[in-house]
Amino acid sequence: MTVHIPSPLRSYTAQRGAVDAEGATLGEVLSALDRRFPGLRFRIITEQDTIRQHIRIFVNEEQARDLSVALRPDDEIYIICALSGG
């Protein structure tokens, strides 16, 4: 599946705005991403495995609230940086 990377995280992905990843759940996909791009996961997921306050993750057009969301191989994942103020 494709994971869309916002500009604040592209220093981890060699400036790529979209990367391929595999996993049966959102948590598995983000762990797989972190193995390829070390450090990326902790910037968006807390040590308690919750999505950080100013990060939103969408699977296709549905907002994911936690990491247990099941995924299909053709899903598109969007990581969004949102609402952090000036």
């Binding site: 604040p8 995280l9 070390p38 308690q48 950080r52 100013h54 103020g85």
Partner: protein, 393 residues
């Protein structure tokens, strides 16, 4: 409250020779870090381009043991907290592989989340590559590999009594409760102090395995019980390099001095002028004279503006351990300057005369080559300044 144990006495004496090398000011701001380098005379200064522009940088510290390694506590508005490391004085940076983070809580329990790393302290000179970090909410961490990986101190972070003293997020500063002022006795790497806003001042004599509070003599907001450690709000605590048995503290409720082995703080701010008061955030000590310390008073009246009293900024110095204070405002605006200086944003170098430096939340960086006798604006128009550290090159 557990008793404070006897102090350690191991004969490791730090060098107290005046510095002569150029100075670098390491500036953390709400929108990135900057380095301001001086010439040997500290007359001319050169500012770098922003480092990690857009990152919220709470602290940028040079390792005095190798004078090359720098750690930066950073996050962004969106992205979580991390630590960046440079081993070539800021030319290149790498991110910590495991930044400070609390342990994952068991199922059905609510674990804590590090919002930001707030404070960085190099460990003892005899512990190369070791660092301490304080976080918001209050947590104490240590790295033994130059900041690559960080381990929590369960003695603080998970201790039920300490968790009670830390209180909730509502008991901290508007930017979150913080663990700060991590101090290492230069005579003994196992003798530590740290402070929490809120949550008091604490000491360890066993390298952090256990801590005990030292809050006797410290005042709290009127109507609260000073015996309750939770209510104590030390803003900044400093240890005198020339006499590690002396500590100075700027507190939410006054300026204090502690002379060990006593466990009782003395409110030396009572000798400040009444119209100025003794409220503020930073505390600075002289590198070679334990009688001398500086504060930057701010308005703690009515609704607590936390700006220079009457819009007339001034540093105050004591040269007799707090018996009296002298105003130092030569070079500052005489009126209409409503400055706020945060607790990490004022520092001294080790030259003779001592250089003093501070940054304001309005983005001005001021310096004095004369121990505060005269002041010059070094840089204007920076972002909101969070921290200033003076490093000897």
């Amino acid at each position: 409250m557990p008793p404070v144990r006897p102090l350690p006495r191991k004969n490791i004496t730090p060098s107290l020779e005046p510095a002569t090398a150029p100075v670098a000011l390491l500036v953390g701001t709400r929108k990135g870090a900057f380095i301001l380098r001086s010439d040997r005379a500290r007359r001319t200064w050169k500012l770098t381009e922003p480092i990690f522009l857009g990152h919220i940088v709470h602290h940028l510290v040079l390792d005095p043991r190798d004078k090359r390694t720098m750690l930066m506590a950073a996050r962004t508005g969106h992205l979580g907290p991390t630590v960046f490391r440079s081993t070539d004085f800021g030319r290149t940076w790498k991110e910590a592989a495991r930044p400070p983070a609390f342990p994952k809580a068991p199922e059905r329990e609510k674990g804590r989340v590090v919002d930001h790393t707030f404070w960085l302290t190099p460990c003892h000179a005899n512990e190369p590559n070791a660092w301490y970090a304080g976080t918001s909410p209050q947590g104490l961490f240590r790295s033994d590999d130059g900041g690559v990986t960080w381990e929590p101190f369960s003695s603080i972070n998970d201790d039920p009594q300490y968790r009670t003293w830390m209180g909730s997020v509502q008991d901290g500063t508007p930017d979150g409760p913080k663990l700060h002022s991590i101090l290492v006795d230069p005579r003994d790497p196992t003798h530590l102090y740290m402070a929490m806003s809120g949550g008091g001042v604490h000491e360890s004599v066993d390298g952090g395995k256990t801590f005990a509070p030292i809050v006797k003599g410290m005042e709290v907001v009127e109507g609260f019980d000073a015996a309750n450690v939770t209510f104590h709000d030390p803003h900044c605590v400093r240890l005198c390099p020339s006499n590690p048995d002396r500590l100075y503290q700027q507190n939410h409720c006054g300026i204090y001095r502690l002379d060990r082995p006593s466990n009782e703080w003395t409110r030396i701010g009572k000798s400040m002028p009444k119209r100025v008061g003794d409220i503020g955030f930073p505390m600075v000590v002289h590198p070679r004279d334990a009688e001398t310390a500086w504060v930057f008073p701010m308005d703690g009246a009515t609704v607590w503006p936390r700006t220079s009293p009457d819009g007339k900024p001034a540093v105050y110095v004591t040269k007799n351990a707090g018996k009296s204070w002298t105003r130092q405002d030569k070079g500052f605006p005489k009126a209409h300057a409503w400055w706020t200086v945060k607790r990490q944003a004022m520092t001294a170098d080790a030259h003779e005369p001592v250089g003093l430096f501070f940054g304001t939340t309005s983005g001005e960086l001021w310096g004095s080559r004369t121990g505060g006798a005269g002041w010059t604006c070094l840089v204007r128009n920076l972002p909101e300044i969070y921290s200033v550290e003076a490093a000897e090159l």
